[in-house]
Amino acid sequence: MSSTTNTTTIGTIGAPSRRNTELALLVFAVIIPVFAYINVGLAKEETVPAGVLGYTLGLGLLAGVAHLVVRKWAPYADPLMLPIATLLNGLGLVFIWRLDQEPQISTPQLGGAMAPGQLMWSTLGVALFLGVLIFLKDHRVLQRYTYISMVVALVLLISPIFFPARFGARIWITIPGVGSLQPGEFAKIIIAIFFAGYLMVKRDALALASRRFMGLYLPRGRDLGPILVIWALSLMILVFETDLGTSLLFFGLFVIMLYVATERTSWIVFGLLLSAGGAVAVATFESHVQVRVHNWLNPLELLNGGVTETAQAMYSFGSGGILGSGLGQGYSRLIGGIAPKSDYILATVGEEIGLAGLMAILMLYGLLIERGIRTALAARDPFGKLLAVGLSGAFALQVFVVAGGVTGLIPLTGMTMPFLAQGGSSVIANWALVAILLRISDTARRPAPTPAPSTDAEMTQVVRP
């Protein structure tokens, strides 16, 4: 209740749990990929594909179990995140299966058909999603592990240096006989936990101790320490792992969270200056980065003749036009290798469902990120706020880095489109990320416990009729 002389009361509307909305959207989110699956089959083979029943049941089962667990363990969670994640994951499976139908890029040397593997990884991802929702009762528990998560994240980020580079970047850990995984995908969640815990404690020092100069708050020299350390680390990732994406994600995430924690625009200015300076400096002597930048600036000339993948992706978008060529009727196999299934899956999307479809997909990513930021606004504890901003910021940066790379806005980096692209680590880590966001939103949207009825009023009524 407000206390001063104003005559209005501001109270939150008791949020309904919206679980039925979520269920309806989930049904929708399962039907759309099934429709796409049938469409690809009709276009390629002129028959409804044989696996359609199994695929429908599998995706429906995953979505159904996830929904029931959310209903039981996070009843007030946001109703949109799970359906959007399911839809993106389902569409990703359809696009990978569709590219598996191209014999040129599904040879055994290139790994063969990848849709079954991706389905398995998605199942594991949903299992991890369920595990996080069931066992993480309160996101504030994560705050206890602030500095442990720092160590774990650093280990995860540094470990790929000791493994051989693949496709020009050292971002994989290879375990013989088991496979390989990209630790950077998991590090982005764990590093967000560290940043949230650290900034919650230190933000007053970083925000208040400053001088004003030309409209900017200049922090004291020693308060520049953390941002410089993170900057140096992200540059080292760029130099030793030659991976622009992870480096950008890591540094960008810190700048975003620093800005949100301190409300000082100067941190964004510093962040942009530092990252621009660092990127230019590294690009002058690191050959792998130079090649990427060269391909970005001159997509039509490859060093050994021919055109680059960047140019091929541009041709895909161009051939798709506004409404696209139709599912299963594009030529994105011409990009070659397994790139169309992983880094360049957006090119296939853009060619086969056109600008209209690509915009719808980007809208879905935007909506998912918006729900994350909305969760941060609604969260009542500062750690939850910062963590929600960090996780949705990491997701947003990843979408930006990949989509920007494929569409030629920035040099291409070796990251995967969350949920859509082929890649086990990515899909598992992103399901865990969505689970943590759902947990925070459940806490944030849960109605406040009703206060005990005033004994005063009750007693007087009973005693004095």
């Binding site: 209740m1 206390s3 001063t4 002389t5 005559t7 209005t8 009361t9 501001i10 109270g11 939150t12 509307i13 949020a15 919206r18 909305t21 959207l25 929708f28 989110a29 039907i31 759309i32 429709f35 796409a36 469409n39 009709l42 276009a43 002129e46 109703p79 949109l80 359906p83 959007i84 839809l87 409404l323 696209g324 139709g326 599912l327 009727q329 469902i353 056109g354 209209a356 479809g357 719808a360 997909i361 809208m363 879905l364 909506l367 918006e370 729900r371 909305r374 609604a378 005033s454 004994t455 005063d456 009023a457 007693m459 007087t460 009524q461 009729p465």
Partner: protein, 176 residues
């Protein structure tokens, strides 16, 4: 498969994809109006209704009496104070509606009334209703004491209407 079927499926797919996006945005709309602003009077009337429903078997004259009380001063007892007013000190003019909750006074940030006063302790005093709805002031072991009229409080004391309670340089009163 005929060209026509594939074209229809292609456009149909785009349509359902966008339909999903639009439905999702519609779901978000409910969040845009996340807070409700109500006039005090309306809120009070709204708050009374559930209380009346809770005891449907109450005798008619009791209900009538309760309604009278509600209309008069928002409390069951006639002549009971409805608000606490700061009449002297840096917070002069501040009022707090008395709704049966305990009001804490002091320099601590979580107090109901945060006193910015060198003579106040961090948890200085509290004002709360007893079982009969009589408001009581209690000193919480403050350094400089809480005064009701001219007397320093040693025990929880009922507050007469309009009597000044002095804490440091701040004076508060209960009013109708």
């Amino acid at each position: 498969m005929s060209e026509l079927t594939l074209t229809v499926m292609r456009l149909g797919f785009l349509a359902v994809l966008w339909l999903f996006v639009i439905v999702a945005v519609q779901v978000i709309r409910s969040d845009l109006f996340g807070t409700r602003v109500t006039q005090r009077g309306a809120a009070r009337r709204g708050a009374q209704e559930p209380r009346a429903q809770r005891q449907p078997a109450a005798p008619p004259q009791q209900q009538q009496r309760r309604q009278e009380g509600g209309r008069g001063n928002n409390r069951q007892r006639r002549g009971a104070p409805t608000k606490l007013v700061v009449s002297e000190g840096s917070l002069t003019g501040t009022t707090v509606a008395l709704q049966g909750q305990t009001i804490s006074l002091g320099r601590a940030h979580d107090s109901t009334i945060v006193l910015d006063d060198d003579y106040a302790s961090s948890r200085h005093a509290r004002i709360y209703p007893d079982r009969d709805g009589q408001w009581i002031v209690e000193d919480l072991g403050s350094t400089n004491g809480t005064y009701l009229d001219r007397t320093r409080l040693t025990t929880p004391t009922p507050i007469p209407l309009g009597a000044p309670i002095r804490i440091g340089k701040t004076v508060i009163e209960l009013r109708k």
